[in-house]
Symmetry: C2
Subunit: 119 residues, 2 copies
Amino acid sequence: MSHQHDAPGECKRSMCPVACTLDIIGDKWTLLLVRDLFAGKKIFSEFQSSPENIPTNILSDRLKRLLAHGIVEKNAYQTHPVRYEYALTAKGKDLGAVLNAMVQWGERHVPGSKALMQP
Amino acid sequence: MSHQHDAPGECKRSMCPVACTLDIIGDKWTLLLVRDLFAGKKIFSEFQSSPENIPTNILSDRLKRLLAHGIVEKNAYQTHPVRYEYALTAKGKDLGAVLNAMVQWGERHVPGSKALMQP
DNA sequence: CCGGATCCGGTCTGATACTG
DNA sequence: CAGTATCAGACCGGATCCGG
């Protein structure tokens, strides 16, 4: 799908850590996947079944991107046909702090949102 | 520009606080503006002069969106012609935690990013 | 079925030009 | 200076199709 190679380990827009981070996770779906991974989801269909209804092509693309950035890793849990499960790396788990900050902000400032996480 | 009314105070995709928060700040530019506001920038041209080179139409749009969500407020610092300066509300200042988490993640995991903030 | 890949219309982005 | 206008091209998201 996307042809940008987000060379993992490089800042695209500036040296600012905020900009660098946003270049990697600054979109509507990526952190939702990280949230799901923290919640124990592992496989494609589990991500797909989240209430936000991510389209399959976007899901596929975001998983690849997270892989390329070393935020998740995948391993086959079954051969023939091959099936993969995804898990957060240490780098990915460190995003828990960002997620927590968002949870707190959302719970405080967006009416009608309720706690769902325990990273 | 955009015709979506992001009804401020409502979740669009799900009840999850992460999704709610991402619906508001989940794009490449919004949090960069919040960062600039924390750094003391107040007016249009100051935001424009940040190293990421935000296009003027996007800048204009994001400021409106932040205004609509009560994250920033503007007041005229000059009449004739009217000029506005922007400032974070309490709700906006609460995003500092998200920003800090991103700074820490970026500094730790993205080579070549250096601290620039002190919210 | 499950995990995608492909196709396609519509929306949004971003470079630039322009206006008060 | 603080935006608005324009426009091509990138990207999103829905639907559909396909290999195992």
